[in-house]
Symmetry: C2
Subunit: 371 residues, 2 copies
């Protein structure tokens, strides 16, 4: 057995995305202690940069020391109490996972189903809210990583607030790639991932909670069922006021990487990053259109950072095409998930991957393998 | 705000330990997809190397994609069912945390208390086992990171097995630093951390479960309360047979680092690594003894990788001494935790930190600041 030298891929799947050399370099800096004053300064800067990226002034904004699915669970485990009714909008894999989270936290999930590839229906959610006046939380995926569809987060949050519900929003694929405004839209709890439009290596999940969410957590009758994810404890570590109390050992080098990736986003400017994703997506679309390739999602609902295309009918072995892209062109794209397996491919243009050279490489590789 | 350049520390606290340049270099290699065939090959190698480090043939041996405290919770959340009686041995901070885990999983904790700095009492555990024939699990810390004491894991496991109990063993500080034999000692479930004697950056928790443990998990009446930690789901991702099913996005670069650190351990040889820790600890002890510094733990129970020394009476501001070590000598040592705060310092000699130059640097720095 010897040292692992990974192949050099171009990552245009649903994440991880290409990681900038700046971020990889930051990650390789010498490890320091998780209670070192220098590390605590880094933690403060990460919180500031995350607030910028999320467009929030929420004090409780920090990166969970685990992947996006743990960020999701952090939101549900803290906010859902036994017996709580939660409306969960399901229009893809990650909505389904939210339902699973609600149940495991002892909540009751009221599922609002929409077709995979379509946005969450505002009308259906409103109907359920009216039919169930005791609903506590509305949970949905802002940008479905399994379909590439954007839902109307602003309207859904407004609606939930009008019915005195909290919102839990999955922004794993949104953050840094398309419009997201935590405070402006009134999102109460949100989670994301490091490996999508932030272009950081996977493993970290930025989250943010506003005061309404924190109030519910503080009023819980029973402790959060997870010790690792209990925000009452985690807050003591990430909150700089009055000294930090040890909770767990933060993934120090992953935090160097996250800091650098957030700094890159800050230097570019959030709105500029959204614009870049949109422009690159447009160029990719023109190329695919010229090849006769169609999209799963109607253009007005399509995420620029995740382009889900229908596998042409004449392709009988879609896995062989993906293998060819990977092996002959070092290009990774994503397969369809769940109900869409074998029907779509997911082409990501996330963060550092949303560059013209990637668009061109991708189109050229598709042309080569589809012949 | 600018890129974060960490100070260059010598890490001789309770972890993280100094990370070898080889491991940092590995971590900075280009990110690939978590479903890439090349990454799957890496995962297989990591499992093989972890089995070597744990001394086990357990199939279910893999790294949890989160810090040691999530590894702990993975063991408890999967193995403890509502109403299960669990004997938890508490002789330091991490035993206390185990109690918290049992309660949050709906179990009933029978606490066996021992003085902090003393090993777990075999007699007390035996008494509780006899008094409670319906106990399902015995949980204890093999190497208490808060005190530097080693307990007799072999005997505790034998005793638990004789009473038809499963064992959950905390080996966060043990793995790679002192004798540990998962199969030989009959440990049923074990968790560790990447940032101690493996000298990898923090954030990953290697775990291993034998067939007896898996049997209990498979027979559970209710699903595991955590979706992220549910081994029935995680197994589908880490198990190579019949293809992998997506569960979460693995922290790809952290896995490069873990692989390299395990490879370094394999190249040195496990027994040689234990011997090195022991020898370095002896040299440190001689130096501290010569300075009149005493140890918390009786020598025969003291961990070589974590040397807990009593703060001399004449030191009135121990935090100032640690600050001086850090600021003037770039040397990190650990403070006392919990009941031992202000009473002890913890000096780690873990993994890549267990080198003669570190021992010498540490002793010289102590001499300088204690004057």
């Amino acid at each position: 057995m010897k040292s692992f030298i990974p192949p050099k891929r171009t990552l245009m799947g649903p994440g991880p995305s290409d990681v900038s050399p700046r971020v990889l370099e930051a990650m390789a800096r010498p490890t320091i202690g998780h209670l070192d004053p220098a590390f605590q300064k880094l933690m403060e800067e990460i919180k500031i940069l995350l607030r910028y990226a999320f467009k929030t002034e929420n004090k409780l904004t920090f990166p969970v020391s685990a992947p996006g699915s743990a960020g999701m669970e952090t939101c549900f485990a803290n906010l859902v109490e036994k017996g709580d009714k939660v409306i969960v909008c399901v229009n893809g894999v990650f909505g389904t996972r939210m339902v699973e989270n609600v149940i495991r936290c002892g909540g009751e999930a009221i599922v609002v189903n929409d077709e995979w590839g379509k946005p969450v229906s505002i009308e259906k959610v409103e109907t359920e809210l009216k039919a169930n006046p005791d609903v506590k939380i509305v949970a949905f995926v802002a940008a479905e990583t399994s379909t590439g569809v954007a839902s109307d987060t602003r309207t859904l949050c407004k609606l939930a607030r009008a019915h005195d519900c909290l919102t839990i929003v999955d922004a794993v694929t949104s953050l840094g790639g398309s419009e997201l405004d935590v405070d402006g839209w009134g999102i109460d709890a949100i989670y994301s991932g490091s490996q999508k439009c932030l272009s950081c290596p996977p493993g970290i999940s930025p989250v943010s909670f506003n005061d309404r969410a924190i109030e519910k957590i503080k009023k819980r009758e029973k402790p959060v069922q997870s010790w690792f994810m209990d925000l009452n404890l985690v807050m003591g570590y990430w909150d700089g006021e009055g000294g930090r109390s040890y909770h767990h050992t933060a993934p120090v080098n992953a935090m160097y990487a996250l800091h650098e990736s957030l700094l890159i986003l800050y230097e570019e400017g959030l709105e500029n990053a959204w614009k870049r994703h949109s422009e690159m997506s447009q160029k990719l679309r023109e190329g695919f259109n010229a090849m006769g390739i169609r999209y799963l999602v109607e253009e007005k609902y399509a995420l620029p950072q995740l382009n889900t295309i229908l596998i042409p009918d004449h392709i009988t072995d879609e896995a062989a095409i993906r293998a060819k892209l990977l092996n002959d062109h070092n290009l990774e794209i994503g397969a369809g998930l769940g109900a869409l397996a074998g029907k779509v491919w997911r082409v990501g243009l996330m963060g550092h991957s949303a560059r013209i050279e990637n668009v061109e490489k991708c189109l050229a590789a598709f042309k080569a393998v589809m012949n």
